[in-house]
């Protein structure tokens, strides 16, 4: 989380795509979610907690591939004009999620955007009020579903001139969120889990997203500025209990 934020806040090196995993299963809260709402999900009660800088619902990060992408916008005005929307840049959601659909297709998994499946599929999650605590139990039209289950949760944060989108592709169900199947667990798919190793999925996704965005990715390490800034951000925000308890 701190590294994603450091890439967003550092001097811009160009479009940046990052894949990562988690050293231990972790629950992340959306930026505006109330800390007390964590009690609504008992299965993840023991997990380490972090508050994201991005919006949306809580995510149990366990058997997943986590991605982040940082893209430029020269000015607030250009950002607006490119998006025709002040909140999310829906085009970025669509580009990433369409690339994930194409990637999953390489593994024999048929995924669709929720807006395309609304008329044809039954949702396997009962949507209710108040809004579900977990991101993967919420639905918006750009979400990505397999057999009616949401399998990618993404969220964005803007700063002046740049936007971060990060998200999780659920590869398998976590014992800390057993109600949420991953893409390797659908009966119709019948694929071996090892075929969907995170590294393999990431390689396909990198290629497809690069084509979609018109970007040729090259492997880089974090700059010294990004490394230093991530340490500062980690200490002052993500590892700071007052940040976690801010809402």
């Amino acid at each position: 989380m701190a590294i994603d934020q450091a890439i967003l806040e550092s001097e811009y090196p160009g479009p940046t795509l990052r894949f990562y995993g988690w050293s231990a299963p972790t629950l992340s809260l959306g930026y505006f979610q109330k800390l007390a709402d964590r009690e609504r999900h008992k299965e993840s009660a023991e997990l380490t907690l972090v508050r994201r800088s991005t919006g949306g619902g809580a995510i149990v990060h366990d058997r997943e591939l986590t991605y982040s992408v940082v893209l430029p916008c020269q000015s607030q005005r250009e950002l607006f004009q490119s998006a025709s929307n002040l909140g999310a840049i829906l085009e970025l959601y669509e580009s990433v999620h369409q690339s994930v659909i194409d990637t999953l297709g390489e593994f024999g998994v048929h995924a669709t955007l929720h807006k395309d499946s609304l008329a044809s599929e039954n949702s396997n999650i009962l949507l209710s009020e108040p809004e579900p605590f977990l991101c993967f139990q919420r639905r918006s039209e750009w979400d990505l579903t397999v057999s009616g289950y949401k399998v990618v949760g993404s969220a964005q944060r803007r700063v002046r001139g740049k936007i971060l989108q990060h998200g999780s592709l659920l590869l398998g169900a976590s014992c800390f969120a057993p109600q949420l199947p991953g893409v390797s667990e659908f009966d119709r798919v019948q694929l071996a889990t090892e075929k969907m190793a995170p590294e393999k999925v990431a390689a396909h996704l990198m290629k497809k997203l690069g084509t979609k965005l018109g970007v040729h990715w090259s492997a880089e390490t974090l700059s010294s500025e990004e490394q230093e800034l991530s340490k500062v951000i980690r200490k002052s925000r993500f590892a700071d209990p007052t940040w976690t308890a801010r809402h």
Binding site: G30, F32, Q76, R77, S84, G87
Partner: protein, 133 residues
């Protein structure tokens, strides 16, 4: 008394500004334009600023969440926050119906009136919105 959107000033980042004289001081009342609220159609959260804070023009003063994106709000003017609309964060559904009266976010006592010079009038702002749409 209702504010007339045609009489307000606007920032490129879609905040509106209504400047008035109060006891010899220039007070800017600030909110988000109707066009912006329309675009933010499912605005779900807003972080409000603190009274007493000194802002520079262009400085971030709050954040909003819409469609899972967290976006900053920028102060169009320079000065001290003297009042905050504390009811607004819990009544965001009313923003759309009444962006220029109920929808005010904060009042700022200007310390540098030159920050008003870069703001747009209604016609220029409408032009920006039509180019964006």
């Amino acid at each position: 008394m209702s504010r007339d959107e045609k009489e307000l000033l606007y920032a490129e980042s879609h905040e509106w500004v209504d400047v008035s004289d109060v006891d010899g001081a220039k007070i800017a009342t600030i909110g988000i334009s109707a066009f912006a609220i329309e675009q933010l159609n499912d605005l779900v959260y807003m972080d409000m600023p603190q009274t007493g804070r000194i802002l520079g023009a262009g400085e971030e003063f709050g954040e909003v969440e819409s469609v899972k994106a967290v976006s900053p709000l920028y102060s169009p003017v320079s000065g001290e926050i003297v009042e905050v609309h504390s009811e607004l964060a819990d009544s965001l559904d009313q923003l759309k119906e009444n962006p220029y009266d109920f929808g005010w976010i904060m009042k700022v006592k200007l310390n540098d009136e030159s920050s008003l010079d870069s703001l747009l009038d209604y016609a220029a702002y409408k032009q920006q919105c039509s180019e964006a749409g």
